[in-house]
Amino acid sequence: MKHQWFRAWIGIALVGAVTVPRAMAASLYNLPRGVTPVSHEIYGLNMLAFWIMCGIATVVFGAITWSMIFHRRSRHPKPAKFHENSVLEVVWTVIPFIILIVMAVPAARVLLRAEDVHHSEMTVEVTGYQWLWRYTYPRWHINIYSRLANSSLRIAPLNSGVSPYSVPHYLHSVTHPLVLPVGEKVRLLVTSKDVIHSWWVPDLGVQMDANPGLVNSIWVRIEKPGTYRGQCNQICGWGHAYMPIVVVAKPKTQFQAWVREWQERHRVDADDASSPSPQGS
């Protein structure tokens, strides 16, 4: 009898071990692994903490469940009398402490790396407004206003009668995306012109508040070309849900081409505009 139970549990555990990570990998249910070194490390921390919590849950909830089943009055009519046990109490003070250290050490290490903006290869200024983002590339005098795309804007009003499913990336598409080169350490200087906003792109592992009058810096090094979406994450007025962020990462040569094309279109005649070289800025 006991044997069968045991086998059933093993079976459930195996099915779980196969299906849960697969379900977790889909970013609908978990953090994205992302496309920057920091986002991978955050994902790793998230999973480390998750599995540790699962372990603790198994022990604690297991004990509660055991108690609920086997120590109910119908099965266990005579309650025990104990109400203290110094050894046990010391043990369950010390063990959590050790578990916390196991999480705190890697977390501190990742934090120090994530906050180290030294040796960045280019800089983009990110400025929040009610309700759009402005991206400025100081070296090339590029200035981009990035607001909610018209396709979403048409749908967003109350009872617009248009289905949000009718357009791709409803509320996650913009007029002009932030374009960044792949492989370069890009420093983002984040600030705001009115109220507090927050620049959050999960795939980049970056969330930074945009405070009026203050400048916060953070960095990204995108590993893969692609389009990465996020949105403002600090309540900033009725348009809070309508200031998405889209980052398009291009290989270096394509990025340089994009810079030239932008400059031609906007006829910027700055000296350093002709050669977008990837050196410190």
């Binding site: 609920m68 109400h83 046990n85 109490e89 927050s198 508040d209």
Partner: protein
């Protein structure tokens, strides 16, 4: 000290009837009842706002409300639930139970007690009236971050004044609890012999007195910035908006423990009763409460990991926050050890207590994850956070309050509630609350921000599940009200010791507890 406390020769009761009795009452049981009824009304007002939120989030696109009105609902839901529902419920329980549990005839400062309650209806009338002002109610979220909060228009001074009133009420209530517990215990009731609920409230009261003035100071600075040209929070004038975040969370973190420590006390009363076993590790439970309260003052920065604090501050707040898991763990383990090898029965209060232990622990798990700063860069302000604090506040604090109501209702009314309907209420609540809040973890991890009226379509399914859970949870609470009404007006007679496993002075007085109890101090069993 205790001996010198004597009742006035002529008790004041029954001098007035009807409405005037309730307005002029100085009786701790009357005032406790007023607090509890007020809290229940606010729970439904705040809950109605939550229903608006969940209805709008049922599917993408805007169907019912404008974004501005949605933001008003989000803000008022937070303020009403925190200051109107959860805190007054605990103060109501404190008023009813602390004198009964320590063998005191009443609270130490009865007139002050009356005043601290009667401030509240005015405070919330002011706050809710802002819905009818041009421009509507406050929209900045209950955290009132500047400078957005300063853009509020007409509702702004109403909100500030309402918060001041709530703060005064809480501080006065806190002082009353401290003075009562320290001065009015029956002879022989030493501090270490006090019931855990009383201990939890003593510590909570100190937190209240310590931090409510901080909030009052903060909102006054906002008022000055708005109307008197100061620049506490504007960089242009030499201030910084981050100052508000620091002030608010220096209040705010102890505040969230103000809403959970009394719940810990309640669970520590209920679990031993229905396990028929003394509380495991009483002394360590008290020290754990005190450590949590102390730590609550040095962790406020974990609400601000994305605000751009220096990395050294991030590290400090990460480590101090993680430390809280140790005393909290001790409490959880001690409750489990109390159940261990008991003779457990599962009446409704015990069901809520067990659900509390499990679901509060889940809220604790996400709390530890949120403490990891780099991970917080992804979790911060997402629905993961919404899931976290609803697990600790609803399936934590609110479940503890409901458990307490079922536990002490026989003492208050003299009737037993209907166990069948109590269980129906419990099971509907626990299932629907998990349906409501568990999917929010996934939504947050997948990238959905909080406080948005509309969202990208990939979040639809989980939001639908959550909304359906929300509607069931909301409707289930009507059963709670019906049970309370039915118990007040009828039901099986309750004995003095309503639960066979219950200990403590409150069970030595008849049920319902007479209007005046412990006119002479009781014997405290050695």
């Amino acid at each position: 000290m205790t001996e010198s406390v004597a009742l006035p020769a002529e008790p004041h009761h029954a001098t007035r009837r009807g409405l005037m009795r309730w307005i002029t009452t100085t009786n701790h049981k009357d005032i406790g009842t007023l607090y509890l009824i007020f809290s229940l009304i606010m729970f439904f007002i705040g809950g109605a706002m939550a229903m608006v939120i969940r209805a709008e989030l049922y599917q993408p696109g805007l169907q019912f409300v404008t974004p501005a009105f949605y933001n008003q609902m989000v803000t008022l839901h937070g303020l009403v639930m925190v200051f109107g529902a959860v805190m007054p419920a605990f103060v109501g329980l404190a008023n009813w139970m602390i004198p009964l549990m320590i063998g005191a005839p009443d609270m130490a400062l009865p007139r002050l007690n009356n005043w601290s309650f009667w401030i509240l209806p005015f405070a919330f009338t002011l706050l809710l009236l802002t819905l009818f002002l041009p421009g509507g109610a406050p929209q900045g979220g209950w955290t009132l971050y500047v400078p957005y909060s300063l853009e509020l228009g007409y509702s702004f001074p109403f909100m500030i004044f309402a918060i001041h009133l709530m703060g005064i009420s809480s501080v006065l209530g806190g002082i009353n609890v401290i003075v009562t517990i320290l001065n009015m215990r029956a002879p022989g009731m030493t501090l270490m012999k006090m019931p855990l609920f009383v201990w939890a409230w003593l510590i909570t009261a100190y937190l209240l007195v310590a931090v409510m003035p901080v909030l009052a100071g903060g909102v006054t600075m906002q008022l000055l910035d708005h109307y008197f040209g100061t620049h506490f929070f504007s960089v242009a004038g030499g201030g910084t908006p981050l100052l508000w975040e620091h002030v608010f969370w220096f209040f705010g973190h102890p505040e969230v423990y103000i809403m959970i420590l009394p719940a810990f006390g309640i669970i520590s009363e209920i679990v031993p009763t229905f396990s028929r076993k003394p509380l495991f590790g009483r002394t360590s439970m008290i020290y754990a409460l005190a450590s949590i309260a102390f730590l609550s003052f040095i962790v406020w920065g974990h609400h601000m990991f994305t605000s751009g604090m220096p990395v050294s501050a991030d590290l400090f707040f990460m480590f101090s926050t993680m430390l809280i898991a140790v005393p909290t763990g001790v409490k959880i383990f001690n409750w489990v050890a109390t159940m261990w090898r008991g003779a457990i029965t599962f009446e409704t209060p015990m069901l809520f207590a067990v659900a509390f232990i499990i679901l509060f622990t889940i809220g604790g798990f996400s709390g530890v994850m949120l403490a990891l700063v780099p991970a917080d860069f992804q979790y911060h302000n997402s629905y993961f956070v919404v899931a976290h604090f609803h697990y600790v506040l609803v399936t934590g604090a609110v479940f503890a309050i409901m458990g307490a109501v079922y536990y002490w209702l026989p003492k208050w009314t003299g009737h037993m509630y209907n166990e069948f309907w109590g269980k129906v209420h419990f099971w509907l609540s626990v299932i629907s609350a998990n349906m409501l809040y568990f999917p929010m973890h996934f939504l947050g991890l997948a990238g959905m921000p909080r406080r948005v009226p509309d969202y990208a379509v990939q979040f639809t399914n989980l939001n639908m599940i959550s909304s359906i859970g929300g509607f069931i949870f909301g409707a289930s609470q009507l059963i709670f009200v019906a049970i309370i009404f039915a118990t007040v007006y009828g039901g099986r007679r309750a004995e003095a010791r309503a639960w066979e496993g219950a200990h403590g002075l409150e069970w030595t007085v008849p049920s319902p507890a007479p209007y005046h109890t412990f006119a002479t101090p009781p014997e405290v069993p050695g």
